[in-house]
Symmetry: D3
Subunit: 114 residues, 6 copies
């Protein structure tokens, strides 16, 4: 049962609504830029998700890691590709990323047992 | 003339020699892991370089950025792809990455004028 | 009902007591320096809280962000000023700060509905 | 009652099993390197745990701090030594480490009341 | 004589030209957002510069610190205010910021001897 | 010839003088706390230097690394101990620390050829 994914998505949407209710122009412009950066372009969207995932891992942001893992999963990331993405984050960012890799692996397991 | 690239490579090799002369097992094992992480596998080497580049940008390490820019350039990264890679780093990591993007753009310009 | 603020303050006080019970001179001297840094001086206390908030946002420390948001709220920070403070943190620190901005916005909403 | 320690250890083991089930060579090699780094050598294991603790504190990773506090406790770290270790983390890493020091002090208190 | 300021400004402009020559929409949109964040609004521009300075100090970005020190100086920051800004950065970010505070103090001295 | 060490010490002293000339109470109190943290106590000064070195490595501050390497060298750190200290920093902090390890190894080589 998709408990972790569901909770993550619901909390993310709930809080996003609070931010968007503020109706602040600069925050909205940043959010638009953020979305644009991951669109298919000279680099395809899946490569960009993986870049976002690597960046999130080394910056050790659980919410960001979960988001990119979910997105990459939707785009067909395989088990082996997941492991290699984790390895790059681990080698670049060091053992300090391990607690985040543990939680990412738990999320990934849930996604793939759905 | 490739001044920046040449200086970067020479300094990197000079200092790497000093590290390797130490002949320390753990450092060498880490260096081996580091190289292995970027090899063609379930993800291709070019995607991995871009992930390393994104991670280096948000961690704001000039030497690491230069290294991955040079590697990605050798693997055929286009001008548009370079810009998109910089954009992801900038959006994830914020304006604090701009000084590094400036220097990466200078290096990229030199590479492409060769 | 002020659930989030109350829980934050109670947990903070409970843990602070545990630290202070240790009765360690260096920790107490640091805490004294920390308090002194935010006092009215050549810069007024409210400006200093905003500086502390910006620093906490880009370092992505939820407890620190919550603390400075609460303090700035007590000092009369307006809704528009809150948004501008978040924007600076977001632009300097990048999308990696967004999960923290979401939680700060939730806390801010609760404060202002009291 | 050892609630915090027990929960930490159980969660850590549960998630470690998920990572190890992946049976990925690079992750396992990194984990082996990680363990090797803290073994008695030219520097004794206790000094290495303290170095790991200081590094974890300034990088603000609660799981890593908890792990090294527990390990150092098993190796006979005294109350005074705990305080001095926290002080180094606090001075190097700044007030942004305080929320982590609070939680480390809570864990330490539990360990010593066992 | 204003050696440090002049060199900083010239290098910054030279590299900015290289980035802007790329004529990339996303980079330009981010740069526009960055400028907008520091404009007079509900918070005045000087407060915002101080927030940018505090954020830059704790993120330890020399170029960013120099930029905000120069801007704040142009906006009439006094000697005492400069010290208090440094103190907040130092307390929040710890001794790891000291090398940057040293260089900021050198720049500040040059600005004020002009 | 001790070029690197000499330059490092001279630049550090020159800039420290500029900071101390400011005669600011809070900065001086922080500097006093900083010195106190590394004094012999329940933990000996050499262990504390190694903790400071590990923290500096994972935070990737060249000036701080150089300072602690020099201090640890004066306290009799051996070649093997230097390698093990670097390994801990590398494993905790990841490949992003490698450029700093290279420069630390260069400094260490100079110290030991004196």
């Amino acid at each position: 049962m998709a408990g972790k994914v569901k909770r993550f998505n619901e909390e993310r949407e709930r809080l996003n609504r609070i931010v968007l209710e503020r109706d602040n122009l600069e925050l909205k412009r940043f959010f638009a830029l953020d979305q644009a950066a991951y669109r298919d372009g000279a680099l395809d969207a899946r490569t960009k998700e993986l870049m976002g995932l690597a960046a999130s891992l080394v910056l050790r942001c659980d919410d960001c890691i979960s988001y990119h893992v979910l997105r990459a999963g939707e785009m067909g990331l395989t088990n082996e590709q997941f492991d290699e993405a984790m390895s790059i984050g681990l080698v670049v960012g060091g053992s300090i990323t391990i607690p985040h890799i543990r939680r990412a692996a738990e999320l990934w397991k849930e996604i793939n047992n759905r």
